[in-house]
Amino acid sequence: MYGTLDISTSALVAQRRQLDTISGNIANMHATRDANGQPNPYRRRVALFATGDPSRGRGAPGVHVARIVNDPSPCHLKFDPDHPDAVMAGPQKGYVRLPNVDLSTEMVNALFAVRAYEANVTVMEITKSMAASDLRLLA
């Protein structure tokens, strides 16, 4: 029974990291500069899930976020020649390079993560009630 709770916990942790990634993406959806103040648009991050829970040893059942990678898709371009970060020369002259974050995609992914989180909480509640019913056998 206790192992079952660990499985659900690993899923809660993984879905929480997914939600953190999504909120980072949404927060940075207009960030045209990097942390050093250079004009370098934020790149959307994606959490990659993998089965198993290495934090509890090899082959432990559960789920974890294997890596968080940058989405390599091209930046969004917006024509705004007066913007301080607009491209000065070349074929993209006058365009601002915006992060490749799409708000609707992020919202759909966030909904999915929340639903998955809730499903795992439900499993945990049922695990707890089953364990309580097992313990009542002793009384």
Binding site: T4, I7, S8, A11, G62, F112, V123, I126
Partner: protein, 144 residues
């Protein structure tokens, strides 16, 4: 010896096996639910009908004599280890006609309904076990 006789009779061993089975099945469903959205994850399953028919055969073989041991014969998913514990090995659910482009075949609705059904089965088994133990208790104390 005498006590073993007492707890090996009637439906007690079958109830204990069923409780162990529902517990393992619950763990498997928890793993399936935890892996929603993992690319390439294949849903695991335990065949309830196969377990029940193995249970039925074990009860038939034991017959009404409580001295006969209760042996749950193994099949592909369920077997009894040398200490009498239940060992289950879930298999992958075969691919149905719908397969998502990330290679999973998980249906969360089915998992949640299996979860509820399995929890009710566990509760039922535990209730029956509790009644059995209460009966034994009363017999031992000699009063109700």
């Amino acid at each position: 010896m005498f006590f073993e006789n007492l707890i090996n009779r009637g439906s007690l061993p079958a109830l204990v096996s069923t409780a162990a089975f529902t517990e393992e099945r619950h763990r498997m469903i928890a793993e399936n639910v935890a892996n929603i959205g993992v690319p390439g994850y294949k849903t695991r399953q335990l065949d309830v009908k196969a377990f029940q028919s193995a249970l039925g055969r074990a009860l038939d073989r034991r017959g009404s004599d409580p001295r006969n041991p209760f042996v749950l014969e193994g099949n592909r998913q369920v077997r009894t280890n040398e200490r009498g514990g239940l060992v289950v090995t879930p298999t992958q659910r075969p691919v149905e006609n719908l397969l998502f482009h990330d290679g999973t075949n998980l249906s969360i609705e089915r998992q949640m309904s299996d979860l509820a059904e399995n929890a009710m089965m566990h509760e039922l088994t535990n209730t029956l076990l509790r009644k059995k133990y209460d009966g034994l208790h009363k017999a031992i104390r000699g009063r109700s």
